[in-house]
């Protein structure tokens, strides 16, 4: 089936098999491989995107469900070469190692700070508890979120 999705403000079309996830369509059909495929079962948050402004795991949404909707991915955060403040904070804090979880964490953090500009440490931990990271032990990710919140 043919779907039309507005990705980061631009309308895109793709021919999808009905069983494809939004994550697969973004990565393989629509040209947005930034969202990552770490578990594809909604447990790790690496594919976090905003669907009509709501944070979702793109692996749990069918591509067909996104037909006619707005999707915001990690690729849409930076303004050209200038990083989004959350992205810059992740770079500066040393919150990136292998970086496979990073796109999802950056999207989730930007969403958190949009809703709660000054979260407490517990609020940060709870908000990001659906985003698994295997490299950092999270400490420098928390540093980045605190820095971005300022």
């Amino acid at each position: 089936m043919r779907i039309t999705v507005r990705v980061n403000g631009e309308e895109r079309q793709a021919d999808c098999w009905e069983g494809e996830s939004l994550l697969y369509a973004l990565r393989e059909q629509l040209g947005f491989p930034g969202s990552k495929n770490a578990c594809e079962q909604g447990e790790c948050g690496s594919c976090s995107v905003l669907l009509d402004g709501t944070l979702v795991c793109a692996c749990l949404v069918l591509a067909a469900q996104a037909d006619g909707h707005d999707v915001a991915t990690v690729e849409g955060l930076a303004a050209g070469e200038e990083l989004h403040p959350v992205q810059q904070a992740f770079v500066d804090a040393g919150a990136v190692q292998c970086g496979f979880c990073t796109p999802g964490l950056v999207v989730a953090t930007a969403d958190l700070l949009r809703q709660k500009p000054s979260p407490t440490d517990d609020e940060i931990r709870e908000a990001l508890s659906g985003n698994l990271c295997r490299c950092t032990g999270y400490a420098k990710i928390f540093d980045a979120v605190r820095a971005a919140a300022q």
Partner: protein
């Protein structure tokens, strides 16, 4: 084709400076090309049909339906492997595709290439494999009395101790002094560790691209490009030059990418179809797609004087290597070599055995054998402290190993090893005061799942010390090549095959080059097997040391060459760096046969505060203080990141991570059922970096990745023991173990 394919001009600081990672900006923007992000025109998708049995005879394989499925371009079995049918990291005991028998759940049996991954998956379902299930060898203790899974004994005759029992991969006995020496007190224990998964987030992935002339380019997430090539080429029946392996972006490794995954399969399908073929494992498949940390059973007896000096230690270590050898022989040796912990013990008898079973294959994972014995040994030290009524930290200080002392193999510690300093530094860290009740459930053991007001919460403080070797050991020719080009315009390019797996080695390489060359304009050539020699693997906490040595030597040689010429013409030199040589252990006594079996050692001491809800069996690690022996920090921010991340993986093994098996079948191959620590599970980690330069290492560096993982499982278990009074002899600790 790949984002890493074009040399990038990068600016970084010099050694010891705190500099942001070079790959961080593309990673935060979603622009970094991981192996799973690669594509090529005309690309097909590969899929692997895997065994549903842990042990079975293959009676027949019928691909006739599968090949006619829509979109399918190739279906291949062991009959189609062009060259050698078997490969292996150290011993070629593993079939590329199963021949006659399957020895573990998830073993590859056939491969498919199709236009769409779903077509490939559906075609694989239509391959008819007739199995005759056989009784699995599922228990490591019974394995040495059951039928031999590898009657050809592939690991025998490599200088290891003769052990004719069935299914023995390797046995090592280390006899040191007189192990029968009596002490005033003795403590005993039997310890057990479950199977841990590396659970790197980037699943096994790669793209194989035929070159049109019979050769192949493979872009893959791996830890050692050249050794991959050495295993791939014979199976494809190609000369090494026709197999080029390139580093695809790596989403974490932790040992799990030392062995091959899709490399040969992708190349077979690509060469057969003359189309690029991409594999991306899903998470369930990833649990069968790589080797794991060895589960272990350990029997220990520690004897000491009434003053607390260790007199003798006896330890028997049993490691389940699973179906194939992988690096089990080295893990077996490491477990034995560090079994006594960083303590001066005059007498010891250590027997370490790794066995074949039909359980998931095990091999390298961060800590590499030392994790298992640290858990057992440190539990014994706590038990001994209690038996002697000595403070556990004092007991460790009293026995702390120091330069000039001997390891049980007879190796005298010649380099840096500041154990007492580490113990004092970790012990001096002040944990936060106990929090009042009632409090937000998020701050109770079990977090939001806690249904009480915290009435059953008990607090405990634990302590542990652990150490392991840096770099390869026991006579392995450990080397790393680097190539440096100086251009007429004053810029430079560095080429090293070292795998950037997330640990930051590409930054290290550039920091060293900038420091040595005195120029800022240094490019990094993409890692690959063409154009530069082997770097060795990104493992054993060796890559920073080895790459720094090789790049340093190549930079210095390049500058010398330019001076000799006296002009600005282009210089291109390659140098191979080796650390001091090591020698094997005597197969009968486990004693040194030369000056050293290990080139250097690194350690970490850890203090942990944990709370246990003893009514519900829930835990919360409140705070961790770590003091680590790092030699010299090339990039302090990255060192802290290694300590925090390594600690988290040890926390996972202590509290939640275990691959569950039933008769060899994995029953929890998902992140729903195999839990790794989340943002709510990790406490703050306070790190003290102890810089005591390693005399024979470039710039005095040591590896930093493994020591925190070696010790944190033991330290967290120690805190839970202090909170509950239970012995807690098995990790991961289960709710039933800590309900009082």
């Amino acid at each position: 084709m790949t984002q890493t394919a074009a040399p990038r001009r990068l600016q970084v600081g010099k050694i010891g400076e705190l500099v942001p990672r070079l790959d961080a900006p593309p990673k935060v923007k979603g622009e970094f090309a991981y192996a799973s992000d690669l594509s090529a025109p005309g690309m097909l998708w590969g899929h692997t049909l895997r065994s549903p049995h842990a042990h079975a005879r293959i009676l027949s394989i019928d691909i006739s339906d599968a090949v006619t499925m829509p979109g399918v371009h190739a279906v291949m079995t062991h009959d189609d492997v062009p060259g050698e049918k078997r490969y292996g990291l150290e011993f070629a005991d593993q079939p590329v595709l199963a021949i006659e028998r399957v020895l573990y759940y998830g073993e590859p049996v056939a491969i498919v290439a199709a236009d769409h991954p779903e077509q490939a998956r559906r075609a694989a379902e239509r391959i008819r494999v007739e199995y005759e299930p056989l009784e699995p060898v599922a228990d490591m203790e019974r394995a040495t009395g059951q039928a031999d899974l590898h009657p050809e004994r592939p690991t025998q005759g490599h200088g290891y101790r003769q052990d004719d029992r069935p299914n023995v991969v390797r046995t090592l006995v280390i006899r040191h002094g007189d192990p029968d020496t009596e002490g005033d007190v003795s403590v005993n224990g039997v310890y057990e560790l479950g199977i841990q998964d590396q659970a790197f987030l980037g699943p096994e992935s790669g793209l194989a691209v035929p070159d049109g002339e019979g050769g192949i380019d493979i872009y893959v997430a791996t830890q050692w490009l050249h050794v991959d090539r050495g295993q791939i080429a014979p199976c494809l029946d190609l000369p090494l030059e026709q197999v080029r392996v390139h580093l695809g972006g790596v989403g974490g490794a932790f040992g799990g990418r030392e062995d091959l995954s899709m490399q040969i399969h992708g190349a077979m399908l690509a060469l057969h179809t003359n189309r690029p073929v991409k594999f991306v494992y899903n998470r369930e498949e990833s649990f069968t797609g790589h080797v794991h940390r060895h589960p272990a059973r350990i029997w220990a007896e520690h004897r000491a004087t009434k003053e607390g000096r260790l007199v003798s230690v006896r330890m028997r270590i049993l490691l389940d290597g699973g179906a194939y050898a992988s690096s089990s022989t080295a893990v077996c040796s490491n477990a034995a070599s560090f079994a006594l912990g960083p303590y001066d013990v005059p007498n010891a008898l250590i027997e370490s055995t790794a066995v074949y079973t039909n359980n998931p294959p095990c091999g390298a994972m961060r800590g590499f054998g030392a994790v298992q014995t640290c858990f057992a040994g440190e539990a014994q030290m706590d038990k001994l402290a209690a038996a002697l009524a000595i403070d556990p930290v004092e007991l460790r200080l009293l026995n702390a190993l120091a330069p000039g002392d001997s390891l049980p193999t007879g190796q005298v510690i010649a380099g840096s090893l500041p154990i007492a300093e580490l113990i004092r530094a970790a012990a001096a860290l002040e944990p936060p005061p106990a929090e009042e009740l009632p409090r937000d459930p998020l701050r109770l053991p079990g977090g939001a799942g806690n249904t009480t007001h915290g009435e059953g919460v008990r607090r405990g403080v634990g302590f542990a010390v652990g150490f392991k070797n840096i770099a390869y050991s026991e006579g392995f020719d450990d080397c790393c090549a680097a190539r440096v080009r100086l251009f007429e315009d004053g810029s430079a390019e560095v080429h090293c095959a070292a795998a950037e797996v997330g640990q930051g080695v590409s930054g290290v390489i550039l920091q060293v080059a900038r420091t040595e060359l005195g120029v800022d304009d240094v490019r990094l050539a993409p890692p690959g097997t063409a154009g530069v020699g082997s770097s060795g693997s990104a493992s054993a906490s060796r890559m920073t040391w080895m790459a720094a040595g090789a790049v340093r030597d190549a930079c210095r040689a390049a500058l010398e060459e330019r001076d000799r010429r006296g002009d600005r013409s282009e210089v291109d030199v390659e140098r191979i760096y080796r650390h001091l040589p090591t020698t094997p252990l005597d197969p009968e006594t486990g004693q040194l046969t030369g000056e050293r079996a290990h080139v250097a050692l690194a350690a970490c001491a850890m203090k942990v505060v944990a709370e246990v809800d003893v009514e519900l069996g829930l835990t919360r690690v409140v705070w961790i203080g770590a003091a680590q022996d790092i030699g010299k920090a090339i990039n302090p921010q990255q060192v802290e990141g290694q300590i925090e991340g390594g600690t988290a993986q040890g926390l996972g093994l202590a509290l939640m991570e275990e691959i569950q098996t039933r008769d060899g079948l994995i029953t929890n191959a998902s992140f729903t059922d195999y839990l790794i620590p989340t943002a709510l599970d990790m406490p703050p980690v306070e790190s003290v970096l102890i810089e005591d330069p390693e005399p024979d290492a470039p710039y005095g560096v040591k590896g930093v990745g493994e020591p925190p993982t070696v010790v944190s499982t033991a330290a967290i278990a120690s805190a839970l023991r202090a909170a509950t009074g239970r012995e807690l002899t098995r990790v991961p600790v289960r709710p039933d173990d800590i309900c009082l």
